[in-house]
């Protein structure tokens, strides 16, 4: 790493600027192997659309531990010296999370979005703190804390994640930022902002919150999220421009872009999330990503949701990709002549 743990917060302040995208695994059409070229394509797409970093979505579908490691290797290799790279932590167990993080650090990872694994059942807030510290101490990468309600710590505090505990965790040297949404509770967000807003990089990934969090609170980065879906081509990255305009105080200019992109932000993305993370993969394919089906278990793509996604993109000036079959086999495989089998 180019920084020590004690320098991590300062390093992040200097390097986390702009938007953090996402890349999820792609598979070959028979879903037996990772599609290395497809993964590399998606990393390059994030680079070309102006992301300063990209997060590897390690948890979105069934993969063996070795495949998860390989997925990280491919993404890190493609991102090397071009953008920062992150991964999601919080899959099955603390031990495997740490093992994966160590591998990630070895192959060039720079930061991680930290959640808690399925087999972690905290009996007290002290348990949460100790498990979190164990993970943070085991790695040198920067930690982006994700105090999301889904991690089920609501039994300890009505906010569903005690802001006081958040504050305590931010004392850990390599905890550099927090991903927190106003939509998770304005009170919770305000409490966290009050406690640690000056100490670490508090940020909301939700575009609808930027007119407040970026424009008024000077949030300097956002993500990870599916930001590549807002632009058809790389020469006009409207979402990056909008973020920067909010940050620079050009509020009304930013709002012009905000309303231009609203059919995607408000309509198409709602339909996308109804399809789970597969919806995100589909939407990214519609706007230039590799696409490709996930393995089981995953969501279902409904025609009506696909129609809403396409309509939202068109309304925001983006032409959605055709033909549908390409999504299933992946863009690069399709270009090589792969087609769905017929029976």
């Amino acid at each position: 790493m180019e920084f020590t743990k004690s320098e991590a917060k300062q390093w992040a302040k200097e390097h986390y600027k702009g938007l953090d995208g996402v890349v999820s695994p792609s598979f070959m059409p028979d879903l037996e192997q990772l599609d290395e070229e497809g993964i590399r394509h998606d990393v390059r797409l994030n680079i070309s659309r102006g992301m300063f970093s990209v997060l590897c979505q390690t948890e979105v579908c069934a993969m063996t531990f070795e495949e998860r490691k390989r997925f990280l290797e491919i993404a890190c290799d493609e991102a090397k010296r071009k953008i920062l790279i992150s991964m999601f932590t919080g899959i099955d167990t603390i031990e495997k999370d740490i093992e994966l993080l160590k591998h990630f650090e070895k192959v060039g990872g720079t930061h991680t979005l930290l959640g808690w694994p399925g087999m972690f059942y905290a009996k007290s807030e002290e348990d949460i703190y100790h498990a979190t510290k164990k993970i943070c101490d085991a790695t040198n990468v920067c930690i982006d804390l994700w105090p999301k309600p889904k991690f089920d710590f609501g039994r300890f505090h009505p906010s569903l994640f005690n802001p006081e505990l958040v504050e305590r965790i931010t004392d850990i040297p390599n905890v550099v930022s927090i991903k927190a949404y106003i939509s998770d509770g304005l009170g919770k967000w305000a409490d966290i902002q009050h406690r640690v807003g000056d100490k670490i990089l508090l940020q909301s990934a939700e575009i609808e919150e930027w007119p407040i969090t970026v424009a008024k609170y000077k949030q300097q980065w956002a993500g990870p999220a599916d930001y590549v879906i807002f632009d058809q081509t790389s020469d006009n990255p409207r979402i990056v421009r909008m973020f920067n305009l909010f940050l620079e105080g050009e509020f009304l200019k930013a709002m012009d872009l905000y309303w231009e992109l609203a059919p995607i932000t408000m309509k198409a993305r709602s339909a996308m999330f109804e399809c789970g993370m597969l919806g995100v993969k589909y939407m990214q394919w519609l706007t230039g990503g590799n696409g490709g089906m996930y393995r089981q278990p995953t969501g279902v793509l409904f025609q009506r949701q696909k129609d809403v996604m396409r309509a939202g993109l068109k309304a925001a000036g983006v032409t959605p990709r055709e033909p549908e079959e390409e999504f299933y086999v992946g863009r690069l495989n399709y270009a090589r002549g792969s087609r769905l089998k017929e029976y």
């Binding site: 069934a62 991690f151 278990p297 029976y343």
Partner: protein, 349 residues
């Protein structure tokens, strides 16, 4: 197998009766391996509950293909002489589904609930029919046709092109049709109308049985986590189904209303709708089962998370529905009942 393809429909009519319950995998506490004893415990528990069949749902969480097969083998072995088995064939590709059917047949399997894999995007009704026939022809298993997760609304507004149902019913080893939970009543009515004379059409949603059993002759129900409503000591969902088959509607209604708080909670609680997303909320079903005597045990990612407020609602609904949910440390659910009994505990940090 006990029947040839030509005799499959008749075999089914004689043998497929009563309720089928779903069984999910259990894992060792580090989630690295299958928990064979936990799986066997759940098979026995399903048999003790009076269910006629156990459906292995191996697609619900992250597992390798080999682990899915091993899970099915364990269930088949434990079920011998106690309870019928079935498997879901809703995996990644057509080829993987076929391989699974062949391995399941070798393990002693007889019935498969065959849907459509993920890597499949039909462009016409004809293509749907051809693929389905191709898979049915590759196996000697009795096939329960399951249309629920394909969602071809572009071909028919119901979500499934109804015109090809009769052709699918004509495939010799297709013996039954399981309607997807969450389908409309109209869809159910049309399935019975179109193919009810040839296939064992069944809707797994208990409230619909008050119409489908007396009026349409439904004689079995494909899998659902029915153990959330009952225990071996009081197998009331099984009893309600049997009462309906016997025409004792008033007595069946008494049981239905007794169980309604559980039904209401479970239907209203899922943060993701199975019908809309195809994702089974298996952690919730497993927690219900653990509360009522099942092994429990956390599943691997990706799987929906289970929150405290979900658990509290589950417990409250069980109490309101006249049951006593298991009183044991929550930790037991995460580890699985048998592991906990052996002294295994969650790690502390």
């Amino acid at each position: 197998m006990g029947f040839g393809k030509a005799g499959a429909k008749e075999w089914a009519r004689e043998n497929m009766r009563g309720l089928e319950a779903v069984i999910f995998p259990s894992f060792t506490p580090d989630l690295q391996d299958l928990d064979e004893e936990g799986v066997r415990y759940d098979v026995q528990h399903l048999a003790d509950n009076g269910f006629k069949s156990a459906l292995c749902a191996s697609e619900v969480c992250g597992m390798t293909f080999e682990e899915r097969i091993r899970f099915i083998e364990i269930v088949c072995d434990e079920a011998k002489g106690k309870i019928h088995t079935s498997i879901t064939a809703l995996h990644d590709t057509v080829e993987q589904d076929i391989e699974m059917l062949q391995l399941y047949e070798k393990a002693g399997g007889v019935v498969v609930m065959l849907g459509h894999p993920l890597q499949y995007h039909p462009r016409s009704e004809e293509e749907i029919y051809r693929m389905y026939k191709y898979v049915c022809d590759s196996t000697n298993l009795a096939v329960v046709f399951y249309p629920a997760r394909l969602k071809t609304k572009s071909l028919h507004n119901s979500y499934w092109p109804m015109q090809i149902l009769p052709r699918i019913a004509d495939i010799s080893n297709v013996v039954a049709l399981k309607i997807g939970g969450g389908s409309s009543l109209t869809f159910t009515a049309q399935c019975f109308h179109l193919v009810g004379d040839r296939l064992l059409v069944n809707d797994p949603i208990p409230e619909k049985w008050f119409l489908t059993i007396p009026k349409c002759g439904q004689q079995w129900s494909g899998a659902s986590p029915f153990y959330m409503f009952q225990t071996p000591e009081n197998p009331r969902m099984v009893r309600m189904f049997d009462l309906l088959v016997e025409g004792e509607i008033d007595k069946a209604l008494d049981i239905y209303w007794e169980m309604e708080p559980i039904n209401e909670a479970s239907m209203g609680m899922a943060s993701v709708s199975y019908f809309d997303t195809g994702i089974i909320y298996a952690t919730m079903d497993k927690y219900y089962h653990w509360c009522n005597g099942g092994n429990g045990g956390m599943l691997r990612q990706p799987v929906p998370r289970l929150h405290d407020y979900h658990k509290q609602r589950i417990r409250a609904s069980l109490l309101a529905g006249g049951m006593t949910p298991r009183e044991a440390p929550e930790e037991e659910f995460y580890l699985g009942r048998l592991n906990y009994a052996r002294g295994v505990r969650l790690r502390e940090y």
